[in-house]
């Protein structure tokens, strides 16, 4: 069981969260060419080591988080709010 230190709620079991997906993707503009969308939606690295991913605290504060997690050890290296503005406020507050 992974324990995730939600910036809003504190440390919680991963069963409160759902895994989102690759957190490193920068989604193209909606009017971007299909090729860019193919790249963003279908092409995935199968990383052995630290990867950036999104998690949703769906049974908690319902905030989306960006997490750096080691796929070998489950060690979490960083957690922040996915919402850029909120993440900035939290960083400034600490």
């Amino acid at each position: 069981m992974i324990r995730i230190n939600c910036p809003f709620c504190g440390e919680r079991d991963h069963s409160e969260f759902t895994y989102g997906g690759d957190g490193s993707i920068v989604y193209p503009e909606l009017d971007a060419p299909a090729e860019e969308w193919v790249e963003a939606i279908f092409q995935r690295e199968n990383i052995r080591g630290v990867q950036t991913e999104t998690w949703h605290h769906v049974s908690g504060c319902r905030q989306w988080l960006v997490i750096e997690r080691d796929t070998m050890t489950h060690e979490i290296h960083s957690i922040k709010a996915a919402h850029e503005g909120v993440a900035k406020v939290l960083e400034a507050g600490t």
Binding site: M1, R3, D13, L30, D31, A34, W37, V38, V66
Partner: protein
Amino acid sequence: MSGSRLPDGGRIDRSAAVEFQWDNRQVSGFKGDTLASALMAHGETIFGRSFKYHRPRGIMSAGVEESGAIVTVGRGARRDPNVKATTQEIYNGLYAKGQNAWPNVRRDLGAVNSLFSRFFSAGFYYKTFMGIPPMEWGKGTGIWMQYEKLIRKAAGMGVASREPDPDIYDHGHLFCDVLVVGSGPAGLAAAVEAAKAGLDVVLVEQDFEIGGDYLNQSNTEAEQKRNTAIAELEKHGARVMTRTTAFGLYDYGVAGLLERVTDHLSEPASHIPRQRFLTLRTKQTILATGAMERTVAFGNNDIPGIMTAAAANTYVNRFGVLPGKQIIVATNNDSAYGPALTLAKAGAEVTLLDSRTSIPANISGLLETKGVTVKTGATALNANGKRGISSLDLATGSRAHWTSGDTQECDLLLMSGGWSPVVNLLSHRGVRPVWDADNLCFVAPEYDEPIQMAGSACAIWGTSDCEASGQAAGAAAVAEIKNQSASSPSAPNAGGWETPIDPLYEVSVEGKQLKSFIDPQHDVTADDVRLAHQEGFVSVEHLKRYTTLGMATDQGKMGNIIGLALMAEALGKEIPQVGTTTFRPPYTPISLGALTGRGKGAHFKGLRRTPMHEWNLAHGATMTEAGLWQRPWYFARDGETITEAYIRETISTRETVGLVDVTSLGKIAIQGPDATELINRVYSNAFAKLPVGKARYGIMLRDDGIVMDDGTSWRFSDTDYFMTTTTAHAAKVMVFLEELLQTRWSNLKVHVTSVSEQWAGSAVAGPKSRAVLEACVADPASVSNDALPFMGVTETTLKNGVSCRIARISFSGEMAYEMYVESDYAESMMDLLWPAAQSFDGCLYGTETLGALRIEKGHVTGVELDGRATIDDAGLGKMASDQKSYIGSALRKRPDLMRTDRPQLVGIFPKDKSEKFKAGSVLCADGKVEGHGDGWITAVTHSPSLGHWIGLGYINGGHDQWTGQTVVAADPVRTGNTNVEIVSPHMVDPSGERMRG
């Protein structure tokens, strides 16, 4: 073996007699006995029959590593097979039986298998499955099914109850600073050290008494230390849990605990759970899990009357039972000397065989003065006796070359083949143990985990060394948690024996065939390991699976090391080069009931009822499940069948008016200056220009261009929308909107809030729907055709003063409205609507009629929007906007998704209008009923409007390609084939005049 109760001694309470049943006989023991010790005191020897050969099996140990005394406890619905008699506490009324035997363990007809043991060697199942050479007779699945019935019956363990489990099981959660597993000298010392430092400590012990090896020592000093430690723990508030197994260690300091709450009670109170499955989160874990004595492979080493030396010591000192009178102890290390003395002191005649050729004179001298005969350079070669050991053939010489020696009479043989530290839990963390060549066992390597190992789990053999090791582990855990540099006392080194252990795993002499077991629970012999090697299995993981070594309920706790040693020998390698298999959770078996906890039956999943649930029931609804929701299915009148009811409801709705509970639809409040922008980006059709006071049907795609969901959005103001989703996808849509707003579009100023629970809704559908509304609202003009035209939205007040929101939207194809009130007013809304509907001869309807109405219209639901269909496949491509970009717009036009021969939504009529067909049928071209066909049927209904059965489905190329052709709806395993024709999906009122009306 002829065990008997000693006149005094032991930790049992001789004033508390316990009566129980063993194999249909009344037996008595004392409080503090295990089933094994109580039966041993009665001279019982045979506890079960072995897995394959049905050989008699007796007590081999005194703990969880037991491979012989495996029994069935309880009866009826509470029959629990494969229970270790060595850990089962006795209680008044306990009902236990030997297993894998008929008619009983003493006279077992299955023992005939022993005669065919040649055929049951390693790989028997695989070889049989592949056919029996040379003709490969009996090859194939069919004949295997026949064998299997016989084999399953003859081979195997106990039989589980077929009845539902009547007990309750709880799940719980715990947090602590330090978890200590094991309460022996090391565990207690560690727990005390951590508790004294002010940390929150949980100490778990699988046994029913705290103390571990202290319990097996008869001296008062050990008892004093135990009591002092327990008092210290209590003083410092440590939580001590007995009958609790730490069965697995997981990431982030999570441990799985199983607490057996009532398995030792005669009549537990019915509200107490039988077991608790606890998830514990800790900062540091201390594993003081001890070590297990193992045996050696030699001839007939499985017969009753052969056990470990430490076990015999436990039976004497802890349970006050002398396991035998004429005892031979065979050892390759120092640890058996203590038990030999214990047994001699208790009055047995003891001979000690040491495989080592020399031992210190002071030790052998001490034994001799206490009456123990010591023979060096000797060990056990072959045990004789059918139902229990009666004599032992000795081997003499040394490990390098054994020769047959004398035969010596005995009624008990004790083996000490060295000790295996319990590193299982550390192994759960992916830490592979390494071979300690001095102590001949696997130990923990260097590792990076918040775990400290202590005591004999680190191959530290002496009690005082174990205490020091525990204290050091406790101090190390404290230092880690308090972030101090470890000023802790250094732990003692591994080992502690005076004379090195002899690497003895198997005893044999040239020219003598022996049946030497290494995994007695699965009947795996030393020859099986050699056979596996001969047949090309060189990896230890393959060896395990081919021979089934270590795959029984004990998971190879005793036999694995011997198996590895023999494999290494066969390969000409050393044990470390062969490696060990991976230990995985659970450490000891866990009942499925405990894993399930309370989540069964009605509690298996959540239950959602709409606020008008009781109202629906009171008005005759038969309910059905829609995901977690309970929804009205149909409202039967006067004994109608479901078919009669939904046909009546469909006709009433089309001719007058019908009401249906639509509360389960997902509802999302979308509010903020950028609400319009969000909605316009997520729907594929145009929304930017939706006026205030209007609703619109919308289709959402996924990023990959496939349809995600459909629903409506109602605009109340520039900044305030009310979105509805399907019942099935409500949660998914909400999550997706949150994801978009938080991860991609954080600059949009808009909030989304799920209000599904806040609004209760009813659809009012049919030609008289407006008249019903006019009768219910305070101001009838607010719902007039002008005030509330098709797709209009209004917020108004009901006659009873309750505010409501109404949109004129239609799923049924009739003039229809969806209206919502705050959930608490749901019944009051229905109490207004229903009499009004009745005055027009209207009806209440459920999901069955909802389905009939929408199929007639060709309106899609989740069965058509199944995660594979594009908006074009569903026939809605014209709705998608070309004027804007939206989620999925880029990828919905991928070449493969634009192929015109893709399956497309169509309507389906039977050729012969009197025939019916079923959803799930495969659509095939006439004369080509094969494979996946050309399409499938998603939904069917009887259409009262058309007077025959109709369906919706998908077929390659769509309606145009199949016009006029006969198509076969193939349903080979149910109704057979039906000839159908393909029509437009809009089967009733294709122009939509009725709903605009």
